[in-house]
Symmetry: C2
């Protein structure tokens, strides 16, 4: 895997943890409600209309309880205070940014998840999750529209000597018109996440359902599988190898999808995109195999340079995006250079967001409207 | 809901927590391997070839760390011992019984999940899970056979003013032969579990894949949805109401399935079964609506009496099962009484198991071979 790309990602991650904005502190409104990601019948964590989060943990004999937000808990901690009933509670110092946030609980130095919320696989472990309602959440909200399905498949993988799991989003009309065939987007998660991330954290299926209901896109399938095929526990990112994943994707998963779903099984109707490390995978594999994919998407996952692409005629779209608190100039300039060189390149900057899922939900919403046109 | 049935279930649950067998203690073999339910690249918890479990938790400043096994942590605790590096470790006092077990970690009086394993929704919260390899695990093992799909659907529910989630297992041949229609089993989870339980804990999809590969059953669909429709947080089981769930199942989910999947949409090709509380739901609803279902299954969920059934001609199968450590005489005698009265009744007792998923995996394996014959 390209060492320069790894450095870019590590710098991006560091920047995220260092650039936590200081927010002003308005008076806190006491209109807290359970986070929509909570387990059934769990009141905490709560979120109010301003975006403050309030946590409550039962730990009668603990000496300290801290909530840490962000990927891998990198965004500092909010210490909780103990009440007479053995519970610990805290409200964040300021409103949280809109969208989905990972977090974790540290009790007397031990890291656990909040028993009140659902868990989400991120940073090579299940993390707690909290959702801050966003001004633009309409596009990923569960609505009374026709819904597609998220189908769990198990496909044979001789390369890794097992059956591997993938999820396939099929649009609402997939099971109605048995003659229709569909293009396919292969969509990758980030480092330490897995094949559940794009639906659980990203709500990719709801974004698609809503776009299709509004007639804004031509329906396509989305295929999501695990992209960290080799064991990276010893060296972290440095031990990551793209080759075993490329074999699974190109030689095993794509032929299985084309044989078992009604796809347009050609390069022109196949896209690959990914967030963060999934963007690096996308760049490496699309450059190595221009015969497989025609539409490329890097979501907070680097940029393409025209000199890297051998055959311009094979590339129908290059989409590059990131949050405005990441490196927006990078994607904007890269798109300009690609356009100058004659590529159909588009950049998108998500306003007021970081290296987090709100950036990637918005990026998918934009990308989906550009694919297979 | 029938008060007698609630009493039966509560007695069963109590019996489970009280009857923990004392096991002899053979020399512990040091061949521990990570549990198959662990998160990617997590070594602990581990299981050895005898069925001993070994837990390890990082909690440098904790005063006590305890692992509690069983539904709701009811099976007593195994205290962990602290090592110099701040980790806590323990091996169970004896081998655990075969199959899937819920457990939880208590750190200084606070209840959390083990950060090493995946979580499973049980007892109205996400619980940690550990898998003890069983002598008969072949029937639910992931094998190199054609695999069906587990399809997540969102169906409109005017009765509860939202879209609700269900999972639909479709057999391997479902997408090949577009003219074939299938019978349907509606399969319910137990108290405090949800629509993910039968696949995550129960491996229902793998049981079906393997049975179909061996030619032991005629393929059918399985539909799994959430059965605790009303909010029971105040009174627990006593506040549970069957009516809102019956409306969702009969008036909303079944019509949606029949409209969107290739089903044999009649009473003769429709079964309902459930484990524990799901068995009570099954009994109540099948007796109330004999026009909807023809095959009934109660898995550790009570029994039918011939006097309760209005029209014998509508019932094609009654299946009742439990673990040998539950109330085996109850299901055996009930089946004898039903047979005497002219019903096609079958009882099944799972040898050496309790009110746990190993009983229900085996029960599904038996039931599937009797359905729609």
């Amino acid at each position: 895997m390209n060492k320069k790309l790894i450095v870019v990602l590590l710098l991006t991650l560091t920047a995220v943890s260092m650039s936590q904005a200081q927010t002003s502190q308005p008076a806190i409104k006491e209109d807290f409600k359970p986070s929509v990601l909570n387990q059934h019948m769990q009141d905490y964590p709560m979120v109010n209309s301003q975006g403050y989060a309030r946590f409550r943990i039962i730990a009668p004999e603990a000496k300290s309880v801290v909530v840490s937000l962000g990927l891998g808990g990198t965004r500092g901690g909010t210490p909780l205070s103990k009440a007479d009933d053995g519970s610990w509670m805290a409200t964040t110092a300021g409103p949280l940014e809109e969208g989905f946030h990972y977090y974790r609980i540290t009790v007397d130095g031990a890291t656990f998840n909040d028993p009140g919320t659902h868990t989400f696989y991120g940073s090579v472990r299940l993390e707690s999750g909290i959702e801050i309602p966003a001004h633009d959440q309409d596009f990923y909200t569960l609505k009374n529209v026709p819904h597609g399905r998220v189908q769990q498949i198990l496909f044979p993988s001789p390369g890794t000597s097992t059956s591997r799991r993938a999820f396939v989003y099929t649009p609402p009309d997939y099971d109605r018109d048995q003659k229709k065939r569909y293009p396919v987007l292969y969509l990758q998660h980030g480092w330490g996440e897995d094949e559940t991330a794009w639906t659980n954290q990203g709500r990719a299926h709801l974004i698609m359902d809503n776009l299709i209901a509004e007639g804004k896109i031509n329906p396509f399938l989305i295929v999501m599988t695990y992209g960290m095929t080799n064991d990276v526990r010893m060296g972290g990112m440095r031990d990551f190898k793209i080759e075993p994943f490329q074999t699974v994707l190109i030689d095993e998963l794509i032929p299985y999808i084309d044989a078992n779903f009604r796809t347009n099984a050609d390069q022109l109707h196949r896209a690959m995109a990914g967030l963060s490390m999934g963007g690096m995978e996308t760049k490496t594999i699309t450059l190595a195999r221009p015969d497989i994919f025609s539409h490329y998407g890097l979501l907070s996952g680097g940029t393409y340079n025209p000199t890297e692409i051998k055959d311009k005629s094979k590339v129908k779209l290059i989409f590059m995006s990131c949050g405005s608190f990441e490196n927006p100039d990078g994607v904007t300039k890269a798109a300009a250079v690609l356009k100058e060189a004659g590529f159909n390149a588009v950049s998108y900057v998500s306003e007021g967001t970081r290296h987090e899922f709100q950036t990637w939900r918005r990026s998918l919403y934009q990308l989906a409207q550009l694919l297979f046109r």
